[in-house]
């Protein structure tokens, strides 16, 4: 979708908020007001302050934040968790914070008046630092403070004309009304661009969503986009439906298990692809994850492991028993392990934490082990959507990611969730574990691997102190033999070791 034409006609002010500039095709309309509305607690103030702070720090546009409800100190404390130091920015003269106190009981109206004081204060603040951006948060406080609505509305009309004359890009916040966009109809005055924020709880998952209700003169994404508020500010996640334009690398990455690489077109998986590893308990999923990470770190790549079943120490110990030593990688700063119980946070929180961790560490390899206990409900729509967002994000970063998942039923290879989730994955490796002749035989097969020829065979493998090793396929008397039979046939010399096709 080309947005270039529209942006050539309508200048935009980049917000610097991740994902938002993408959806709006460049940012908010420059030198015009934008309305950001939503219920209390949606994140309006945070979006507004980030717009201002990034304007000052990234785009050399100083800004004025005029607040009618919070005090400047409250705001500074609230946004410190986003990594914004408002005090420093004020000291440097890049932003001005002005708290306008409006208290109805303190105001005795004795005759005619207008809101010239507001204009003078705002004008003075703008002039003091040469501001190009202004935030008014939230103008509605004026309605509760001043009785004379006629005067107020006339002055608001005047204010928006004034803002336009001043040539500042303004963000106005307002609370959602019942059945209307805003409680006091502010959308009447601010009609160039309207953004609606939402915070809802869907099947126990809390999600924040953003929607561009209106953007005059510009193409924009019309969907609802999930967004998160994390340690570095607001991040809007454009869902895959907007652009399926990840670059497709032709480079291959080893899975860390030689035999498996062989099955995958002899080279392994594509860089930036998503790998699904499923199997019943005890089939060795985590071991594959560990080998993948181990091989990557040995190549000098950075890897990140999200463990949702075992602690980092447990993982380290268990992996050491199969000859995979991950501690040196951790010490060298090549590997980061994040372990937590999935029930500790909501899905949204998880996504956010993973997102922040990935952005900070910038790994090229990722393992999420497992994804299965995120939710108790096997048919969870929310989980698929969350996974989709994670995978999309990960692909955009060109990270090769491996996700392990538990099958509950040994017979059924394709559980409900897996059917849905597997469509998001490029490569699907199914681990099995069947009983044969009084012993359990481990098997691995490649169910699918997009973009490459792959083996269709079920291979036997073992996990031991040397790690994960696939056995050659041994045929004796017209059928593949496994376990003890294989060993016996091999030693008899009555076998034909078959190369994987």
């Amino acid at each position: 979708m080309k947005i270039a034409n529209a942006s050539a006609q309508l200048p935009k002010a980049a917000t610097g908020i991740e994902g938002l500039d993408e959806i709006t095709g460049g940012g908010f309309p420059a030198r015009r007001p934008t309305l950001v509305c939503g219920a209390s607690g949606c994140g309006k103030t945070l979006v507004a302050i980030e717009f201002l702070v990034r304007g000052a720090t990234q785009f050399d546009e100083p800004g004025v934040f005029m607040m009618f409800e919070e005090t400047a100190d409250d705001l500074a404390v609230n946004v410190r968790s986003l990594g914004f130091d408002l005090d420093a920015l004020q000291a440097e003269g890049r932003i001005v914070l002005d708290h306008v106190h409006v208290e109805r009981s303190e105001i005795e109206e004795t005759g005619e008046y207008d809101l010239a004081g507001l204009f003078i204060r705002l004008g003075h603040a703008i002039d003091t630092i040469g501001a190009k951006r202004v935030v008014l948060d939230t103008l509605e406080a004026l309605f509760s403070g001043l009785r004379n609505e006629a005067v107020l509305r006339a002055e608001l009309r005047r204010l928006f004309r004034w803002l336009r004359d001043r040539g500042v890009t303004a963000v106005i916040t307002a609370e959602r009304g019942d059945g209307r966009l805003t409680r006091y109809g502010l959308e009447e005055y601010v009609s160039d661009c309207v953004v609606l924020l939402d915070h809802r709880v869907d099947e126990n998952v809390s999600t924040r969503r953003l929607r561009i209700v209106k953007y005059r003169g510009s193409l924009h994404g019309t969907n609802e986009y999930p967004f998160m508020i994390g340690e570095r500010g607001v991040t809007v996640l454009p869902i895959t439906s907007l652009r399926l334009d990840h670059t497709a690398s032709t480079e291959r990455v080893s899975t860390g298990v030689a035999g498996l690489d062989e099955m995958l077109g002899r080279q392994g998986v594509y860089r930036g692809s998503s790998v699904f590893v499923t199997g019943t308990p005890g089939t060795g999923k985590s071991s594959f994850g560990a080998k993948f990470v181990d091989a990557g770190c040995a190549r000098g790549e950075r890897a990140m492991l999200f463990a949702f079943e075992e602690s980092a120490a447990q993982m380290t110990r268990n992996m050491a028993s199969i000859g995979v030593h991950i501690e040196p990688w951790v010490l060298q700063g090549l590997l980061q392990i994040h372990a937590s119980r999935p029930t500790l946070h909501g899905l949204e929180q998880h996504l956010m934490l993973m997102h922040d961790a990935i952005k900070a560490f910038k790994p090229s390899l990722l393992v999420v082990d497992p994804i299965s206990n995120f939710t108790v409900d096997l048919d969870d729509v929310g989980m698929k959507s969350t996974l989709m967002r994670l995978i999309d994000f990960v692909k955009h970063q060109e990270i090769t990611a491996m996700f392990t998942d538990l099958c509950v039923d040994t017979g059924a290879l394709l559980a409900n969730t897996q059917l849905g989730v597997s469509s998001l994955m490029d490569t699907w490796i199914a681990l099995g574990n069947f009983e044969s002749n009084g012993e359990r035989v481990r098997t691995v097969q490649v169910l699918k691997s997009r973009g490459m020829p792959h083996s269709n065979q079920i291979r036997e493998f073992e996990i031991g102190p040397q790690g994960v090793q696939l056995f050659d396929i041994v045929v004796a008397g017209n059928r593949v033999v496994t376990g003890r039979e294989r060993v016996a046939a091999h030693s008899r010399g009555a076998d034909n070791a078959v190369q994987t096709p």
């Binding site: 002005d98 306008v100 106190h101 409006v102 303190e106 105001i107 005795e108 109206e109 004795t110 005759g111 005619e112 008046y113 207008d114 809101l115 010239a116 004081g117 507001l118 003078i120 204060r121 004008g123 003075h124 004026l142 403070g145 001043l146």
Partner: protein, 102 residues
Amino acid sequence: MKNDVPVEYQLRLYVAGQTAKSQAALLNLRQVCETHLAGRYTIEVIDLLLTPKLAAGDQILALPTLVRKLPQPLKRLVGDLSDEERVLVGLDIQPVAKRAAS
């Protein structure tokens, strides 16, 4: 115990230049003060067009605004002060009975 010391009023009128409203406010204010606070008041007029920085200090939003700095507590009146009753109530002034014209 009777308090015989007259309370001194310190009033500050914020305006934005010479407009009809600001002039009306000043006129009305002087009248009220002369009538009810004779000899114990001071009026300071602050033109925010000249000194915009002062608007933030006393939290001025609407203009004209009259701020009673003394006696405490701080009181704020908004408007051109044409409603005398509101002004008296707002400033907490005991109205002096008007002397009958002789």
